[in-house]
């Protein structure tokens, strides 16, 4: 048992095992309720629809593990879809330039969040809450209250279409491939010096700075990555379902919940990006299960809340046990006061 535990801990410092166990448990119930769910087309549809949240979770992970929050992502996703619809306005030829512009805008919002948090020393909770309101208000002002324009077919390709007629699977959604590519990129990034400094920053800012880590730079970069992930998520969500005034609403909380569910510790310093993305997948699976069970809409938030608290508490307990093991002290740059 303890070997199993330390295996999980070795993978990600606690939590990873829990979230994937939970994912399997939810899938098992889904399979029992509706065996058809695991046929390729419906599984692919599930992954296509889950991809935006998974990508958003990877972006949020960078910010949270470095000890901050990014509450602006939901508003940013909404803003990006509205911007895309308004600027493209149904013209195919504008698709790529507008996507380029959206990426710049996403990076700029992330950079602003990062610089305000690191240079001006405003707590990220406040910075990004402010950014949420600024984006929400600016978009309302710009559009006169409701989105206008429309997305082009090619813009919608990424979120809606895929590689057709694949043997056994049917359609492999582009969204799934983008999710896997970005996920792999995020994992690689966490293995670089940047990744190590990022975790160390969240764990102990002072010690990291003293040992030569560029704390402010990595934190700002994390916000930029989060802004970019919100942009990609916006492109996929807009592609999946088109423009509506409600796109992105409340997503900041869903994604932070997903990251926490993945065992990433709020306050930073612990957790893996794979687990954060697993948390997003688990949350989407949970929503699917609710639909499959035809659970009354009024009951869903309560059940969702109870399951998440239980999962996080379990992971925290596991972490407390494993943190006494010597392997943790062996890690460099983790001079936590605990």
């Amino acid at each position: 048992m303890s070997r199993l535990r330390s295996a999980a801990a070795a993978l990600a410092g606690g939590g990873t095992g829990t979230v994937f166990a939970l994912l399997i448990a939810i899938f098992a119930v889904v399979a029992a309720v509706n065996p058809g769910f695991f046929e390729a087309p419906s599984l692919m549809a599930f992954l296509k629809q889950a991809a935006p949240l998974v990508i958003l979770a990877a972006g949020q992970y960078f910010v949270i593990v470095s000890g901050n929050f990014d509450l602006s992502v939901g508003a940013l996703v909404g803003a990006q879809v509205v911007i895309a619809a308004r600027l493209i306005d149904g013209e195919e030829s504008r698709t790529l330039p507008v996507i380029g512009l959206m990426l710049l805008f996403g990076a700029a919002v992330g950079l602003a969040n990062g610089l305000i948090t690191t240079a001006l020393k405003v707590q990220s909770f406040i910075t990004t809450l402010g950014m949420l309101l600024v984006l929400y208000g600016a978009i309302r002002l710009w559009t006169g209250g409701a989105p206008t324009g429309s997305l082009s077919e090619s813009f919608r390709e990424a979120g809606r279409m895929g590689i057709e007629n694949v043997p056994l699977l049917g359609q492999i959604p582009w969204a799934l491939l983008i999710m896997l590519a970005l996920g792999a990129g995020a994992v690689q990034l966490m293995r670089t010096r940047f990744g190590r400094v990022l975790i160390a920053t969240g764990d102990n800012e002072l010690a990291t700075a003293r040992s030569g880590g560029r704390v402010d730079t990595v934190r700002t970069t994390a916000f930029v990555l989060s802004g970019l992930s919100a942009t990609v998520a916006g492109i996929l969500i807009g592609g999946f379902a088109g423009v509506s005034a409600q796109v992105g609403e409340g997503m900041e909380f869903t994604v932070i919940t997903a990251v926490v569910l993945g065992g990433v510790v709020l306050g930073g310093g612990q957790g893996s990006v794979v687990a954060a993305m697993g948390g997003a997948l688990t949350l989407e699976a949970l929503f699917t299960l609710f639909n499959q069970l035809a659970l009354p809409a009024s009951l869903r938030p309560s059940v969702q809340g109870a399951i998440i608290i239980a999962a996080v508490a379990y992971a925290a307990r596991q972490r407390r046990l494993t943190s006494r093991k010597p392997q943790r002290e062996a890690r460099p740059l983790t001079a936590t006061p605990s």
């Binding site: 419906s42 209250g145 409600q246 919940t257 926490v260 809409a297 938030p301 925290a316 943190s323 605990s338």
Partner: protein, 400 residues
């Protein structure tokens, strides 16, 4: 220290959970459009007398010119307004708007402003002031109070945010002695000179449900997509649909709340399609209707029989696909009527005490006509906006 941090993290997590729970249920969804009555009897959202009245009103020929439906009225009781008549034409008209937070209200608000310009050019009204409460009851109460306190308003138009909460504010406006015009959602007082609204939510829901019953074979399956619970206008539409479906042989697979979010709609419909056939879709508002249609396309399923709304994105999709559909209408042209009513009242002309505007769904026979008329319009525009004869057409609505 370690434990403290864990406790903090747990507390934060719980806070986030509470927030997450809230976001999925917050009634900040603007209640797209509205009729007046609150739930009164029996089933919380079903009022048999009002239901019967609205269904009957659908069959009554409205008085007035059919080319100007915004001036038509169903069974009007005309009231004398001589006491409000004023000399001259530079009357200040003040408008307290609940919000412009959805495309239906944005469309209507543009139409109203265009109508105001015409009245100003004709010298029938002078200054037009407006305030936007952004769906905040308290804000709207203070907006109305500010109009009253200024003493400048010769007439006050109110589109209430919610029924019960705004009632005292409307009474305050009435008590100030100037004529008050209420439209869209109602209030629990009849102190206003006129209350303008289309037939209502029951008629909307019944139009949609009756179409599905007529077009689908007995035993067919129907999925109902709803925006959110607890908003009277939307609940009335669903209550009427349940009434109609109860007398039919259709099987209602479920009724799901979507928040009007296209991604959520597509996700839910996709999941239902994975479990079995869906023959019909009933919606309580057209927001995101296209996403529901796309779910059928992406799943390789035949198009459902569908009720949406007169939002152009849905009507264009309907036309492209040739599916069997109907667009129930919550007459957007009602936004023209209040300013016209105000100018009539200030001239001492009679107006109906309750000004019930016609509310007719757009059927397949009329689809091409309405698409032609709105060819230049953006997709989140409402076909029955009724502003084609205003001088700002089409630019004012196109370049919003």
């Amino acid at each position: 220290m370690h434990r403290t941090r864990q406790a903090l993290a747990a507390a934060a997590a719980i806070g986030l959970l509470a927030a997450t729970a809230c976001t999925s249920e917050t009634p900040d969804e603007p209640a797209p459009e509205d009729d007046q009555s609150t739930a009164e009897s029996g089933d919380e959202w079903f009022d048999q007398a009002e239901y019967d009245r609205q269904l009957e009103q659908r069959g009554i020929e409205p008085e007035g010119d059919p080319a100007a439906p915004w001036l038509q009225a169903i069974e009007p009781e005309w009231v004398d307004t001589a006491e409000y008549a004023q000399e001259g034409g530079d009357h200040t008209v003040c408008f307290s708007n609940a919000s412009v937070s959805n495309p239906w209200r944005v469309t209507g608000w543009i139409t109203m402003q265009q109508q105001v310009e015409v009245l100003q050019d004709e010298g029938r009204i002078g200054e037009f002031r407006h305030s936007d409460a952004a769906d905040d009851d308290d804000q709207q109460i203070s907006d109305i109070q500010a109009f009253v306190d200024s003493g400048d308003c010769d007439a006050i138009i109110i589109s209430p945010s919610t029924t019960a909460t705004l009632t005292p504010a409307v009474e305050t406006a009435c008590a100030s002695g100037v004529p008050v015009v209420v439209f869209d959602r109602g209030v629990n007082t009849d102190c206003a000179v006129t209350f303008i609204h289309p037939i209502g939510g029951y008629a909307f829901g019944a139009d949609a449900a009756e179409f599905l019953v007529d077009e689908l074979e007995p035993g067919s399956t129907v999925l109902a997509l709803r925006i959110l619970p607890g908003v009277d206008v939307l609940e009335h539409r669903w209550a009427a649909a349940q009434e109609v479906f109860a007398d039919s042989d259709l099987e209602i697979l479920g009724n799901e709340f979507t928040g009007g979010d296209a991604a959520e709609i597509k996700n839910i419909v996709t999941q239902y399609l994975q479990r079995g056939d869906v023959d019909g879709i009933w919606m309580d508002a057209g927001d995101g209707a296209v996403a529901a249609v796309e779910a059928f396309e992406d799943a390789g399923q035949p198009y459902p029989v569908m009720s949406g709304e007169d939002e152009l994105s849905f009507m264009r999709k309907w036309d492209e696909t040739g599916m069997t559909a109907i667009a129930p209408v919550y007459s957007n042209f009602q936004w023209r009527t209040p300013v016209l009513a105000a100018s009539m009242i200030l001239s001492g002309e009679e107006v109906p005490a309750e000004w019930v505007l016609p509310q007719e769904p757009i059927t397949e026979a009329e689809l091409d006509d309405y698409l032609d008329r709105n060819a230049d319009m953006p997709s989140l525009h409402y076909a029955k906006f009724g502003g084609e004869d205003l001088p700002g057409f089409p630019d004012a609505w196109r370049d919003r």
